[in-house]
């Protein structure tokens, strides 16, 4: 078959038109639901893009879509994003096609200093004291607040009462007792403790340092673990590995309670969110503990944190996005309680809501809330990813390779100090 020039032109013209139509209909810039390019829907209301990471709890997605649909002053399009959400948002914030308002595990210091997020301080007028100060602090930089904490998440140690009783082991109150208990609870079928498939290097973070009476940073902004007590505490983790008391290589990692409820481990470090699943599977045959203290200055520790709602500085509708964030996460307290407790299990960020939530007043949940209040620590804003990675690598080498904790920590202190200098240089 020969193709005439006319036919070629008409075919390529048709293809181009089809492409243009496909682009117009199917393109997803992540920004507008309107076709006019004005950022407004057919009713003249602004269109806002709101991003969430994918929650594992059934019903959460429907709930946030319901909240968005109930907002009258803008048309809010929810994007439910599976995969590496932190990387997705970090990349999207570099462009103008990202979200207007978004959930973030931060924002990070670099995002704030880079001018990628909007100052939300004015939204907190009259309600600031009702937000849990432990989780509000990492959202605050230079006296301004850059994210609205949504719900508080915390991690804690789950233990199986019957297995401990059979092995004649008391719930551990110190790190040494935890190490001994894990060994006693280990047999051919069950491991004593699950701290994640990497042996705890990733999830524990600064928790053992706080349990040793130290911190990641001192109040005056210096490295808080340049201390022999830190090396002594971290060094104890290698015994867990050498004793073969740690469960490693479980199909689901620490954040999922499967290993615990399936009887693969007698104790597991996991999140408060796992509590309903554990309760459903084990009834009353479990208890929760904070991470046990270590050394004479030690005290129990539980990490607390909060995803927050932030507004992109590149948003074309910043004022509208701020108004929506305020409406959803500050004014609509019923939605906050619903979001925290109807699907998964979290603590509302507003103190007044956490106090009156019936589900948090009894049993293991009440213990967890008490630990969060009395022993909670939140990751400081100064703890940048570079420092975290260096610390996590060091902890992995200490746990698995038996590396010298003193030498490893010195390298982390050097890296953290360099990071402190870098971030303090910026305006």
């Amino acid at each position: 078959m020969t193709i005439s020039r006319r036919r070629l032109l008409s075919t390529s013209g048709g293809l181009a038109l089809t492409g243009a139509l496909a682009t117009a209909c199917g393109s997803n810039t992540g920004r507008s639901g309107d076709s006019s390019g004005t950022g407004k829907d057919s009713g003249g209301k602004p269109t806002l893009q709101q991003w969430y990471h994918q929650y594992g709890e059934a019903g959460t997605e429907q709930a946030v879509r319901r909240y968005a649909a109930a907002y009258g002053r803008a048309s809010v399009k929810v994007q439910w994003r599976p995969g590496s959400y932190d990387q997705q948002t970090a990349a999207a914030l570099l462009t103008s096609s990202g979200p207007d308002v978004f959930e973030v595990n931060g924002p990070t210091l670099d995002q704030i200093q880079g001018g990628q997020v909007t100052d939300l301080t004015d939204l907190f007028e009259g309600v600031k004291d009702d937000f849990n100060p432990a989780v509000l602090a990492p959202k605050t930089y230079d006296g301004k607040i850059w994210g609205i904490p949504q719900t508080i998440d915390m991690q804690l140690l789950y233990y199986r009462k019957s297995l401990l009783k059979d092995a004649n082991v008391e719930p551990p109150q110190t790190l040494d007792e935890l190490v001994d208990a894990a060994k006693k609870l280990t047999d051919k079928k069950v491991k004593g403790l699950f701290l994640g498939n990497d042996g705890g290097a990733g999830v524990l973070g600064g928790t053992p340092l706080y349990a040793a009476g130290l911190s990641l940073f001192t109040e005056d902004g210096k490295v808080g673990f340049d201390d022999p007590a830190a090396a002594r505490t971290l060094g104890k983790f290698h015994r867990l590995y050498a004793d073969k008391s740690l469960l490693l290589g479980a199909p689901a990692d620490w954040s999922d309670p499967s290993a615990f409820v399936q009887g693969l481990t007698a104790m597991q470090w996991s999140g408060l969110w796992a509590l309903p699943a554990v309760q459903k599977a084990l009834g009353d045959d479990f208890g929760v503990l904070p991470f046990p203290k270590d050394g004479p200055a030690g005290k129990p520790a539980v990490p607390v944190g909060a995803y927050s709602s932030a507004v992109s500085a590149r948003s074309g509708h910043r004022a509208e996005a701020k108004a929506f964030a305020k409406w959803l996460w500050i004014e609509r307290t019923a939605y906050q309680e619903d979001f925290a407790l109807s699907y998964g299990f979290h603590i509302p960020a507003r103190i007044s809501l956490a106090k009156k939530a019936a589900k948090l007043r009894e049993g293991a949940a009440a213990d967890a809330v008490r630990y969060a209040t009395e022993n909670g620590w939140a990751q400081p804003l100064l703890w940048t990813p570079a420092g975290q990675t260096a610390y996590q690598d060091a902890l992995s080498r200490i746990i698995k390779d038996g590396a010298n904790p003193d030498t490893e920590l010195k390298a982390v202190v050097r890296k953290t100090n360099a990071e402190l200098q870098r971030v303090q240089k910026k305006p």
Binding site: A250, P385, A386, Q392, D393
Partner: protein
């Protein structure tokens, strides 16, 4: 002549434009970024010269990742070479069902690295008692092994290497099969007349030398592929909190540096340039050493 030029641009133009837009522009921009302090930005203003390069070369984690690559190459290049050549020799000798076996061995090459990594991680080599490998070892009274988390001995290499062998041996087998089928039968006949014993002697003196060009191409591809290792490492060893310091190849490290929460795009770009230079140098040296492009003997 004008028509030919028009047709040339109609067919080649879109691809050339795509190549320029999605390959050369990002490459050039990455080179530009590598000389700037580019935290959380692709439009930096603070020029810092070679500081990013110096930082990357002083960074123990980056140099460790290069060592990881070297160890991986030492395992995977000879193992894949030997296995794919052995498979090709076996399939080539088959009188019946050759197409069937060729397809069977080639089929894993069509499988996604991500899917295969998840099968290896969750089903075969998970660390609990009901993982396939641990179940089989359990029949012989062995304790459960955490294949991906044990560093002494480094069992994770077994998982990584077997995964890649399964995925790529079939592809290289096809290359060797093509090479084998290009060898003139007269050479074997002449060797038989001269009294060469079939088997090792014929392979050593006829088959292997005749496969020189294919071998050089296979080894080059294997080394470059090893440098580009990312998918199976990332999917086998990463979790929501990051990646362990062992078995972290350069691309995984650069991914976390540039695209992780740190978003240090300047430093990541410097690492990418260093890595590209290393790959180029190794490839050129290797090609010269093997005599790539030299006339067949």
């Amino acid at each position: 002549m004008r028509h030919r030029t028009l047709w040339f641009w109609i067919f080649v133009g879109p691809f050339a434009a795509g190549l320029a837009l999605f390959t050369y522009v990002p490459l050039a921009w990455s080179l530009y970024l590598s000389f700037f302090d580019a935290h959380n930005t692709v439009s930096p203003t603070h020029f810092i010269g070679f500081d990013n390069y110096a930082s990357m070369l002083r960074d123990g984690a980056f140099t460790d990742s290069l060592w990881t690559f070297t160890v991986f190459s030492l395992f995977i290049v000879p193992a894949t070479y030997a296995l794919s050549l052995a498979l090709a020799l076996m399939v080539n000798r088959l009188r019946a069902a050759q197409a069937f076996f060729r397809s069977v061995f080639f089929l894993p090459a069509a499988c996604s690295y991500v899917v295969a990594a998840l099968v290896w991680k969750l089903s075969i080599f998970n660390g609990v008692r009901f993982g396939l490998a641990n179940t089989v070892l359990g029949w012989f009274g062995s304790d459960q092994t955490a294949w991906l988390s044990t560093t002494h001995p480094p069992w994770y290499w077994l998982v990584i290497v077997t995964l890649r062998l399964w995925l790529q041996a079939g592809f290289y087998m096809v290359l060797f099969l093509a090479g084998l089928q290009r060898i003139s039968p007269q050479l074997y006949e002449a060797a038989a007349v001269d009294g060469a014993r079939p088997g090792w002697q014929v392979f050593r003196h006829i088959t292997f030398p005749q496969l020189r060009a294919t071998s050089v191409a296979v080894v080059l591809l294997l080394v470059i592929n090893a440098f580009q290792a990312f998918d199976e490492f990332y999917n086998l060893l990463s979790d929501a909190r990051g990646y362990p310091p062992y078995a972290r190849p350069p691309l995984v490290y650069l991914y976390y540096t540039a695209l992780g929460q740190g978003q240090n795009l300047g430093l990541g770009s410097a690492g990418a340039v260093i890595l590209a230079l290393i790959i180029a140098v190794v490839t050129i040296v290797q090609a010269r050493w093997f005599g790539l492009g030299r006339r067949e003997d």
